[in-house]
């Protein structure tokens, strides 16, 4: 059909990428990553230890955010020294391995938001990534999971929380489809997260006041939804002020609960109060504010605004840049990579890479450990669907992304244990009566669409009872203990005891192997190669241990399984040394040393007997006769083909490897300049082999047949087959011997249907 458009654009339109909507840069209307129309120039004046102007605003005109930053973030003892350093010098210091991290975090205490924004904006994406890796607070990287489901089903929450613990997540975050289900979600996740090992921190994201109440009852061990904003109007719209949020920060600490704030690019833009300032400058304000509030850390890096931030030019670089400001301010950084910023898997994969290879306190905040449709926060960058891809990326780059593969049978066992534990608690505390059918369906279910369990309405009843009865974590620990779930009771007790010492209130704290690991006792000490976080050999092996890895033994086992069928289908009778033929109608098929002795099927899975039969039939259809020789001096297709051609009375031969790769050759040609090559063995059909035989016979008669083309659909055949190819081929090359002559083989097909 005629078209007035290059059809490739139609192909591009059909790609997932085109579902993403991109926005034009428009600094006046807040659509600018780094250069807002109203961004101020950096500046600071201090008189008698009090800030009198900051970033172009006199103290009398400060909004609440300026005022809070001036009072609680700016350290007058450092400010003069820090602000006097040119931004390009500070930028260079950030990427200089000879400038210790602690020198830079000290200077940050004297820098204004506009200054910090100007400095990090001067770094390219690679420099930001490198600097982030150097500046992040804790040496050992970690990760956080979302555990939610579309029904708020507590049995599934418990099972999925237990799996998240087994995968190695340091923190688990839940939220609800129905707000009043929060108490049930909290109970279910904290019981599930107590299966397997102690110390996985847990939070229940809900309305500010309720979240604090749930924390005070002991169900949660951290909070991170204390959101702050970069403009005063957005802050007020969010129904808070810097002082009310700082009050909450102290409130969590007063109950021994770990807490971090949240901020991310474009939240002000989404809320309609951007003041024509860039994403980065507003984030710099948010982050200076958070440090001033005395939060140990931040959930930062686009967060819910990531899709919008990523719609403008440089948006993803900006997200990286704001994360860099966070760690430069010495804050723990749960670095976003949660709300999925694109429908394109490739954009998602590209965005995670700097965090994966550079590490982060919590690489994702969080990673959807459940299926996309079960994620009550909306889909994450990585979800249950993509979890194995993440594990493979860790393995590819030998980068610790915080996760470890879980075996099939172990996963089911863990799920059953969590479900049993929670079911006991629900019955024992008079909250609900889960049936065996419910439990069974949840244990094996990949997601809530496959479960027969509680509905959101039934969960609301459970949740109301937990709140109404005034249950606390101590009641739950006792119940587990009564039910014989002693390990889980101990694990929960360990977790709740963390709040007595408060060690995990310090910056970047997680629990590993029953011990608190934070920026205090595990500080990032990166000063160049050989320093900072390095994989131990044991951890490297864990990252390598993904599911279903091919070994030489496995390839040989698979071939041995094929052997039996082939002994019934074909017999290779060795007839002694092969002579040069004189029949002008013959086509010699020369096959490789392991053909029919060690290897019995092609990569496409065709039995070798069937391949020989097909070639023979094709040769006969072309009016020729097939003669077969075993070549033992080479396993290379070209040389197999040329050697066969040189033995052939017609001068035409076929070289055939056990794995199915084949070539039609003629005696007078150079080795790699063949007549026809069949290089894609995995997609070469028996029909193609038959056509190959026909063409070879036609060449033998002096004809010019249409070459056989094996059509591909663009499969990444290398990825699918090369590990097996390399293993198979090595078996054959090991069998070759210099100077061994070709052997004549008489083929007998034992039954008609192979």
């Amino acid at each position: 059909m005629d078209s007035n458009r290059w059809n490739r654009f139609d192909d591009w339109d059909a790609r997932a990428l085109r579902l993403d909507r991109f926005a034009a840069e428009d600094p006046e209307n807040g659509f600018s990553a780094f250069a807002g129309k109203a961004d101020p120039k950096p500046g600071l004046s201090i008189a008698n230890g009090v800030v009198t102007s900051m970033d172009g605003v006199a103290a009398a005109d400060f909004d609440m955010i300026d005022a809070f930053i001036a009072a609680h973030h700016i350290d007058p003892a450092i400010a003069e020294e820090a602000m006097a350093i040119p931004s390009t010098d500070l930028a260079r210091m950030l990427v200089d391995i000879n400038v210790p991290r602690t020198d830079l975090t000290r200077l940050a205490r004297g820098l204004t938001p506009a200054k910090m924004a100007e400095v990090v904006a001067g770094l390219n994406a690679m420099e930001i990534a490198f600097s982030y890796s150097k500046m992040r607070a804790r040496r050992t990287p970690g990760n956080q999971a979302h555990v939610t489901n579309a029904k708020d089903d507590p049995l599934q929450l418990a099972a999925d929380a237990a799996v998240a613990v087994a995968l190695g997540f340091d923190e688990i975050e839940t939220t609800m489809r129905v707000a009043r289900n929060s108490w049930s979600n909290a109970l279910a996740c904290c019981v599930g997260a107590a299966v397997g090992k102690p110390g996985t921190l847990f939070q229940c994201s809900s309305e500010e006041a309720e979240e604090l109440e749930i924390g005070m009852a002991g169900f949660t061990s951290y909070a991170e939804t204390v959101s702050v904003y970069g403009t005063e109007s957005a802050f007020i719209d969010g129904d808070d002020t810097p002082w009310s949020k700082a009050w909450l920060a102290a409130a969590y600490a007063s109950r021994g609960i770990k807490m971090r704030c949240t901020s991310g690019a474009a939240s002000e833009l989404l809320m309609g109060f951007h003041e024509a300032k860039s994403l980065l400058y507003l984030e710099a304000r948010c982050l200076c504010l958070q440090r001033g509030m005395g939060a140990q850390g931040t959930q930062n890096g686009g967060i819910d605004g990531a899709p919008l931030a990523s719609s403008v030019p440089g948006g993803v670089r900006e997200i990286m840049a704001e994360n860099l400001i966070a760690v430069w301010l010495d804050l723990e950084c749960a670095s976003g990579n949660d709300a999925r910023h694109s429908e394109s898997d490739m954009r998602v994969g590209a965005k995670i890479l700097p965090y994966l290879i550079g590490g982060s306190d919590l690489i994702c905040s969080g990673f959807g450990s459940i299926l996309k449709y079960d994620n009550s926060f909306n889909p994450s960058s990585f979800n249950g669907e993509e979890l194995e891809e993440y594990l493979v990326l860790q393995r590819d780059f030998e980068a610790d992304g915080g996760l470890t593969a879980v075996e099939d049978s172990a996963a089911l066992e863990i799920r059953r244990r969590a479900i049993d534990a929670l079911a006991h608690v629900l019955k024992d505390l008079g909250l609900a009566e889960p049936t065996e059918d419910m439990k069974r369906s949840v244990a094996v279910a990949s997601g809530s669409r496959d479960t027969r369990s509680f509905s959101p309405g039934e969960v609301a009843v459970i949740s109301g009872k937990i709140k109404g009865k005034g249950l606390t974590i101590v009641d739950v620990i006792r119940s587990l203990h009564r039910g014989g779930f002693r390990a889980e009771a101990e694990n929960l007790l360990f977790l709740v005891k963390l709040r007595v010492s408060g060690d995990y209130l310090q910056t970047s704290a997680v629990v590993r192997d029953g011990k608190v690991l934070s920026a205090v006792n595990d500080p990032n000490d990166y000063t160049g190669p050989g320093t900072g976080y390095r994989l131990t050999e044991a951890r490297r092996k864990e990252l390598a241990a993904i599911r279903d890895v091919l070994t030489r033994e496995e390839v040989l086992r698979a071939e041995a399984a094929m052997e039996e069928g082939e002994t019934r289908a074909i017999r290779y009778n060795d007839m002694g040394p092969a002579e040069a033929g004189t029949d002008p109608g013959e086509v010699v098929v020369g096959f490789s040393p392991g053909f029919g002795t060690r290897i019995f099927r092609t990569l496409a899975g065709h039995p070798l007997s069937a391949v020989l039969r097909a070639i023979g039939e094709g040769v006969a259809r072309g009016g020729g006769r097939m003669r077969v020789v075993r070549l033992r001096h080479t396993a290379d297709t070209s040389f197999l083909g040329l050697s066969a051609a040189r033995l052939s009375g017609s001068g035409i031969g076929i070289g055939l490897q056990s794995k199915g790769t084949a070539v039609i050759h003629r005696m007078d040609r150079l080795p790699h300049n063949n007549l026809e090559l069949f290089s894609n063995a995995p997609i070469t059909t028996l029909g193609h082999y038959e056509a190959m035989g026909f063409n070879a016979a036609t060449y033998a008669r002096g004809g010019f047949p249409e070459p056989v083309v094996v059509p591909t659909n663009g499969e990444a055949l290398g990825a699918r087959f090369h590990a097996r190819v390399a293993l198979t081929y090595a078996i054959e090359t090991a069998m070759t011997e210099n100077g061994v002559s070709p052997e004549e083989v008489r083929i007998e097909f034992m039954d008609k249907q192979t």
Binding site: H73, W247, R255, V474, L493
Partner: protein
């Protein structure tokens, strides 16, 4: 050794000196066992952080160069004396438009000082009140 180094070496408190960490009713970490929970000797009130422990964590934070975090822990130490309802009441009062004049916040600051011996929190509330006044936050929102 400097004071800062000593502070940092004592961290984590629960691992280096568990006997020095107690709950509000004097139970040390070592006595918060499964058995004592099971028989009802330990209640949720025993599994709370004390102002003394928060002060020690503030010293650790300060020694690690984290002054703002230390100040938060010091505010938190005062806040351990506030009942939950009072914490939530003042939080609500600090939200925009909840107070329609500085009087309610002044009164809260007063109470924090006299009733709860919380001078840091009182000063913090007074600072907020001054800024709310300056920025016109004493306005009806709903």
């Amino acid at each position: 050794m400097t004071r800062a180094v000593i502070q940092l070496q004592g961290y984590p408190l629960a691992e280096t000196a568990p006997e020095s960490v107690t709950g509000p009713r004097g139970k040390t970490l070592g006595t918060l066992t499964m058995e004592s929970v099971a028989v009802g000797e330990v209640e949720i009130e025993d599994i709370r952080i004390t102002p003394q422990t928060l002060a020690r964590q503030a010293e650790v934070a300060r020694a690690a160069g984290r002054e703002a975090l230390a100040e938060n822990f010091e505010r938190a130490a005062e806040m351990t004396r506030l009942p939950e309802a009072e914490i939530m009441r003042i939080y609500e009062l600090l939200r925009p438009g909840r107070a329609n004049s500085g009087a309610a916040l002044s009164e809260a600051a007063e109470r924090l000082e006299t009733k709860y011996a919380a001078p840091r929190l009182a000063a913090f509330i007074r600072q907020a009140a001054a800024q709310y006044d300056r920025r016109g936050l004493y306005r009806l929102r709903f």
